[in-house]
């Protein structure tokens, strides 16, 4: 009985953590990550961007590509939020989660591993494009030295999640915990049934 309570608490904690992490991730996907100022100005988020370069609207195939690929990460996080909320609801309402909800929680947690790779690709694409946009545009011509104003890049809080290993550090423990807790619960349920 005591053990059963502990598993319930573990499931609750894991699913709640998953909901928080994935809601934060979804927020970070939509919120502006970087603000550009100077002759090239605007903002860049994973899902969208709005940039004016030298007085004209700028369309980036690379950022379009990143926003298209972000569908994978958004789907994965949405699945995790839905599965986490469903599991939490069932534990609170019925006292124990259903097998369906637990399997969904575990599988959706595993999808985060796939989105981890996708997000890494998105990060590279965005970083590459931003380094291109913030380069030095000054040059020399027959008119002399043309010094173009510098482009400043200001990272916003949403960019923290994409820096270094942050995303992996917050998602991988969740994936491990969700898989372990769900597997343990399913095994103990099967033993109980037997």
């Amino acid at each position: 009985m005591k053990n059963h309570k502990r598993i319930k608490v573990a499931i609750m904690l894991t699913s709640s953590y998953g909901v928080i992490v994935n809601v934060a991730l979804l927020f970070a996907m939509f919120a502006p990550m970087y603000v550009l100022s100077g002759p090239i100005n605007g903002f860049v988020s994973v899902v969208t961007y709005s940039i004016r370069a030298f007085g004209r609207n700028y369309y980036s195939p690379a950022l379009d590509m990143a926003s298209f690929l972000s569908v994978i990460v958004i789907t994965s996080s949405t699945l995790n939020v839905a599965a986490g909320l469903a599991t939490t609801y069932l534990v609170l309402r019925k006292g124990k989660p259903s097998l369906t909800a637990l399997e969904a929680l575990m599988a959706s947690a595993l999808t985060l591993l796939i989105s981890l790779g996708t997000l890494s690709a998105i990060r590279r694409i965005v970083a590459y494009e931003l380094s291109y946009l913030t380069k030095n545009y000054s040059y020399s011509s027959s008119a002399g030295n043309v010094i173009i104003e510098g482009v400043h890049l200001t990272p916003l809080p949403a960019s923290i999640i994409f820096r270094g290993m942050t995303y992996a550090l917050i998602t991988v423990p969740y994936v491990i915990a969700a898989t372990a807790v769900c597997t343990y619960f399913m095994r103990s349920t099967q033993k109980g049934n037997a």
Binding site: G55, R56, Y58, P61, A62, D64, I72, S141
Partner: protein, 353 residues
Amino acid sequence: MGAVLLAIIMLLFIGRVVGFPVAVIIVSGRSMEPTLEVGDIVVGVKSAYSVGDIVIWCASPTYCVVHRVIEISNRTVVTKGDNNPSPDPPIPRSLVKYRVVTVIRRWEWLPFVGAGLLIYAYVNRDYFRKKNVRPGDIASLVLVSFIVFNATVALLAPTYYSIRSGGLAVPHVALKGTSILRDGSILITLNVYNTKLIKVTSCFVWIYGEKRRFRCDASVESPTQIIVKDIPLNLLVETLREGKGPLLVSVEANILFGRLRGTYYIYPSWKEPAIKVLNGTVTITNPNPIPLTVNVTTYTANKPGPTNTTFKKITLPPWGSVKLDLSHYKYAYVQVRYVFRGKVINKQLRVRP
């Protein structure tokens, strides 16, 4: 039935990879807005195309571009996104795979797909009931669906991104030419792209090889022209008369999105005065930006015999001229003397008869 439908759809989507006569592609960029928007499905067929058509060209089996044809030559095709400021680089004609014949808007197909999934889930609701679900079924369904979805997105989106941006209009400034105006000012004309001259912040002028530098008054004449005034006269005189090195003008100016710092070589040409005789009138013109002194001696008479001689030292202003009317004499000669490049030039002209 569902599996067959799914297989046909998948075949159409991978049509471009295997070279089917018909291919379907999802628009993933904004370069063709407003004609095509992100999420729209375009259907392409292998057929002839002309300027103005939207085509699908593929640089690799997975990287395709949907753009409009703006130019066709024997070997190459130039395309451009409707929303891009500049065209794409020319591509070989062999890369153009399909001509777009139909566009299915995202709001036309997305609701149908959503409704279809919901109907599928409703029809198969018994399967999802607890009693029919075996352990591992839901987990497998979620994972496999996600992987299929993932693969589909990766296949539909171009898996390559180009270093070439969608048209970054970096301002460009180049020198078009310099000239000396009638008042001795210097006009610097520039070719500019996506910028304009705003304000001149400093100006210096000097003779090449000399250390003395003089401030000058420069201003923006037009978005592409700088006018440099108040050039010390002695600088022009030294450059022109004494044949010293070229004149240098250093200008620093604010331009839209940056600054311009340039030094320009001015080569003023020292020209001989133009002397013309017409109907008994002598016109002497100074074609130089500095004053010019000429000694004019006239020999006049109304009958054969001794002549009246008059001597005049005339200083012509820059670009100025002087007229000597000798038409009321029956006989008139004129002698014009001036110094040109260190030599005394002596010109004699018969004015009348």
